[in-house]
């Protein structure tokens, strides 16, 4: 037996390494110099940008193209392999983390809680986990990266220390723990069934001809669906979502809605890719879960009056859309799922950014309540426009073309494999979704007093949000507009 020495290609690992190193640096710097705060963010952004640059090489590779490293000698399997979809997810995760940081940019007026470095490093660590998991090809790194992406978020939620924050943290924590237990079991079962530590089609194919080991593999997949389902907040593993979102600070909620989902999908896609050769039946469960998530998420979102909770429930619904294509086992399905996730993340981040800006302008009480958005279009037309674009994109209606194209993309594989029932359920949920987001939009567009607004438009109140927040809003908005004009910019990332 040969000495297993793996070849490391740092360039390929850069997307995962950069944030990790960034985290370390931040902590070191914090130890060295206490009072600095903006520096941490600078370092973090730089590391994220470096990581993002690292993904470029992998973007838009043709189908089958993959950049891999940590390979066993003798052309053996590799523990890290990033194809186009994975690279796209990594890029999205890094950028989303950047937006999160911008949203949580420290305010000089307020006295710092001293936890700046911790927050930054935790965000970076979780991001590193998210990027790493997208490329992990063996059980070990897969589990570690996934947990690396999860645990810090618990801390981030809890860090604010408020009562609601703790409740959210507890909800998140307990679910996270259990689902990690399940994932560990899943890994063990996978190993039992395939006898391989790698999550690859080759490993899965070994099972096909052995009926006795099949159930084990299926059980493993089921456990994976359950464990990942928690992170994607799919019904019935979703219950923590509103609590955590509501309890956490807005930027962290945005992080949960963005980076965590990317990490979860990255992890899921690896397993799906591996078992794709085994055919669709294993994925019926996904169809059921997806349908349940869409329906319950939309219906519950319809009843929320706190915008954060509304966004949380909409996350549940959108998660259903994200995994729906996976019910049809095909490479197109993986692509579609990734594309939908990216579109969703972009729109959701924009929505969160606008909410954050309003929180800083009008105070949390008003900005977190739906009724506080009455007549926003008159007070802050620009923010209203951005919010409207985000909501319409989530609803999948022009001018939010990106969301619409994403829906088209997500439905294609489903229709292609003739899952008519799933398709019809999706159609119904498209309607429910429109109802959810237009409910918000109507409030935004409502005129304060139908008569007076005609005569003399009231001078818009000053927008006293933090510049960094506004930068985040601007970036997300511009990105959404551009990708709505040409969705190929997003689809192209994931290859064809």
């Amino acid at each position: 037996m040969s000495q297993a020495v793996v070849a490391v290609n740092a360039g390929v690992l850069l997307p995962a390494l950069a944030p990790a190193i960034g985290a370390a640096v931040v902590l070191v710097v914090d130890v060295a110099a206490q009072r600095l705060r903006r520096t941490h963010y600078m370092i973090a952004l730089v590391s994220l940008v470096v990581g993002a640059v690292g993904t470029f090489a992998g973007l838009g590779m043709v189908a089958g193209g993959v950049r891999q490293t940590l390979c066993l000698p003798g052309g053996g399997q590799c523990m890290y392999a990033a194809d186009a979809v994975a690279s796209g997810l990594q890029l999205a995760a890094l950028l989303a983390a950047g937006v999160t940081l911008l949203l949580s940019w420290p305010d000089d007026k307020k006295q710092s809680s001293g936890s700046t470095a911790v927050i930054v490093s935790l965000v970076l660590t979780a991001t590193a986990g998210a990027t790493a998991v997208a490329g992990a090809r063996d059980l070990g790194s897969w589990l570690v990266a996934l947990e690396l992406a999860t645990l810090p978020t618990v801390a981030l939620v809890a860090l604010r220390g408020a009562r609601s924050a703790i409740s959210g943290a507890i909800a998140l924590l307990t679910t996270a723990l259990v689902s990690f237990g399940l994932l560990a079991l899943a890994a063990a079962l996978w190993f039992t069934a395939t006898g391989s530590g790698f999550i690859t089609p080759a490993a899965a194919l070994a099972v096909i001809d052995d009926p006795s080991r099949r159930p084990i593999l299926v059980l493993a997949v089921a456990l994976v669906v359950a464990g990942i389902g928690f992170k994607l907040s799919l019904v019935p593993f979703h219950a923590w979502t509103p609590e955590a979102y509501d309890g956490a600070p807005l930027p962290i909620a945005a992080f949960l809605a963005g980076v965590s989902k990317i990490a979860a999908l990255g992890a899921l896609l690896i397993v799906i890719r591996a078992i794709a050769p085994l055919g669709a039946p294993a994925l019926t469960t996904i169809a059921i879960v997806a349908a349940a998530s869409m329906t319950l998420g939309n219906i519950m979102a319809l009843r929320q009056n706190s915008v954060v909770r509304l966004l949380a429930w909409s996350t549940v619904a959108q998660a259903g859309w994200v995994v729906m294509p996976l019910a049809a086992a095909s490479s197109a399905a993986v692509f579609a799922s990734g594309a939908y996730l990216l579109a969703y993340v972009l729109a959701t981040l924009l929505a969160f950014a606008v909410v954050a800006a309003l929180v800083q302008t009008r105070g949390a009480a008003r900005a977190r309540d739906l009724s506080g958005y009455h007549g926003l279009v008159h007070d802050h037309p620009v923010l209203a426009a951005a919010l409207g674009l985000a909501l319409l994109s989530l609803a999948g209606l022009p001018p939010g073309v990106l969301g619409l194209v994403a829906k088209v993309t997500a439905l294609r594989p489903v229709v292609a494999s003739e899952l008519w029932l799933m398709a019809v359920i999706a159609a119904v949920n498209a309607v429910l979704g429109v109802a959810v987001y237009l409910r918000w939009l109507r409030v935004v567009m409502a005129t304060a007093e139908p008569e007076t607004d005609m005569t003399a438009p009231v001078a818009a109140p000053a927008l006293s949000a933090h510049p960094a927040t506004l930068v985040a809003v601007g970036l997300a908005a511009v990105a959404l507009v551009v990708t709505s004009v040409n969705p190929q910019l997003i689809l192209g990332l994931l290859g064809s």
């Binding site: 037309p381 209606l397 022009p398 229709v415 008519w420 999706a426 438009p457 969705p487 190929q488 064809s496």
Partner: protein, 495 residues
């Protein structure tokens, strides 16, 4: 290039207007009207040029999904394009007489422009997915028009109407999307011309039926086909005049147009199998809508129900599967576009004058106090009851004829029963038309007096009345345009 310009102008104007809607209303009212008037006229000119030169545009857009920007004009879409462009001007001109209230005028005109853009793109697009996207473009602007600029007497009703409209339509269009994707996947191309040329080759009957059913339900909601019509009356009742006009005259046509493009041409077998059901729904719609009009007391609702009836004739013609039937349907499309536009402009003006569109309250007889409105009303309802020599006649008569002698693969006996029922519908139409005339046109009341139509309103009404007459006397104008492409679809040797 002309074609892209024709699309770009309304799109950009609309967006610009909506984004720059912040200065003082009084000044922006006139400016916005002027801007959008100029834009509409330019668009109309370009559309006409496009229809004449028949250019083709084909750009790569979403290679990942194989979606291309493919636009072109053929005989089937040409009349609809002209109609859209013309009404695009008309609504703006008419709005000079009745400035919008309920929100900033720039938003109002911007939404009008966007609706026009969406309609034009729908009729121009040759890519099934792009067709769907354009189909969706009109939703939000129309939703804004209804929910912001609609009748503000009853705000809950307004919210209900706008919500109903957008949700119901989204359901339809998403089902349509599923159908489109299935079609594109199984046929292997998204190009409508290629799909039409293939005539469903390689798709077995059951597949065709499933896809056709999805598409028919999805598009049927837009038409609106009985029993999916209940969103239409509230929407029309609440919507501002311009909204009602665009909704009735253009948006409904997108449904029937889509059926021609996406169902009849690419899925002849599947459609043939479902045609009887489809036709039956259409005929039920004819009678249902007509009867409802006999007792409806809100004028706008009444016209909305009459739209259901008229679109029933279009559906009947489509289902017959013959060239005559398709010609009838396309002509009836245009006819209803002109007539319903005329009636909604008229009724919108009346509602402004009366304060409500309620027929129960006593009004001044139009013939006494406002002869011009009276004339327009008489012509409009005469055309609406399918009076020969006016635009309404040809489509409906030919639809009934084609239902009586349908294509070979249709159940002849059943279709003939439907034809007879449809004929009965024309008598009901006469009933409600004369009812309205007797209620508000004749009589000797001269109070409360109101001003007669003049300026922008009168010019719009006059032009529409004229076109009702011209198209009624010379239907060949439309029929000759469409005939070639129609006979290609039905692959019928014409005699």
């Amino acid at each position: 290039m002309l074609l892209l310009a024709a699309l770009a102008i309304p799109a950009l104007t609309g967006t610009a207007l909506i984004l720059t809607g912040r200065d003082s209303v009084r000044s922006s009212e006139a400016n916005a009207n002027l801007v959008s008037l100029v834009a509409s006229v330019a668009t109309a000119a370009l559309v006409v040029a496009t229809v004449i030169t028949r250019p083709k545009v084909d750009y790569q857009w979403l290679p990942s999904l194989g979606v291309r920007w493919q636009f072109s004009v053929d005989g089937i879409s040409a009349p609809l394009l002209i109609l859209t462009a013309a009404l695009g001007i008309a609504v703006v001109v008419h709005a000079r007489s009745y400035p919008p209230h309920g929100g900033s005028p720039t938003t109002f005109y911007g939404c009008l422009q966007l609706v026009e853009f969406g309609a034009l793109a729908t009729f121009l697009s040759r890519d099934a997915v792009v067709f769907f996207l354009s189909f969706e473009v009109v939703l939000i602007p129309m939703w804004v028009l209804i929910s912001r600029f609609g009748d503000s007497h009853d705000l809950p009703a307004r919210a209900d109407a706008s919500g109903r409209f957008v949700l119901y339509t989204v359901l339809g269009s998403t089902l349509m999307l599923v159908g489109i994707l299935a079609l594109v996947h199984s046929a292997g191309t998204a190009n409508l011309d290629a799909l039409a040329a293939a005539r469903g080759a390689g798709l077995d009957r059951s597949t065709q039926m499933v896809i056709a059913a999805l598409l028919l339900v999805g598009l049927g909601i837009k038409i609106p086909l009985w029993p999916f019509h209940t969103w239409l009356p509230p929407a029309h009742t609440i919507a501002p005049t311009a909204g009602s006009v665009l909704l009735a005259a253009i948006l409904l046509k997108m449904g029937t147009y889509g059926i021609v493009r996406l169902v009849i041409a690419p899925l002849p077998i599947g459609f043939g199998a479902l045609a009887p059901v489809f036709a039956a729904a259409g005929v039920i719609g004819i009678l249902w809508g007509g009867l409802a009009c006999l007792v409806e007391t809100d004028l706008k609702r009444l016209i909305a129900y009459s739209s259901v009836a008229h679109m029933g004739f279009v559906v009947l013609g489509l289902s017959s599967g013959t060239t005559a039937g398709l010609q009838a349907a396309l002509f009836a499309n245009i006819a209803h576009g002109v007539v319903s536009a005329l009636l909604f402009f008229l009724v919108g003006g009346l509602k402004e004058r009366w304060g409500s569109a309620d027929l129960a309250t006593a009004r001044a007889a139009l013939r006494e106090v406002s002869p011009r409105l009276g004339l327009a009303l008489v012509v409009g309802f005469a055309a609406s009851l399918g009076l020969p020599g006016l635009v309404g006649f040809w489509g409906e008569f030919l639809a009934m004829y084609s239902a009586w002698s349908p294509a070979a693969d249709r159940p002849e006996g059943f279709m003939r029963v439907l034809a007879v029922l449809a004929v009965t519908g024309t008598a009901v139409a006469a009933g409600y038309s004369l009812r309205v005339l007797r209620l508000i046109w004749s009589g000797d009341r001269t109070s409360p007096a109101h001003v007669d139509a003049h300026g922008g309103e009168w010019s719009v009404l006059a032009v529409l009345v004229a076109s009702v007459l011209v198209l009624g006397v010379a239907p060949g104008i439309v029929l000759n345009t469409t005939s070639k492409d129609v006979s290609v679809i039905t692959s019928e040797v014409s005699r």
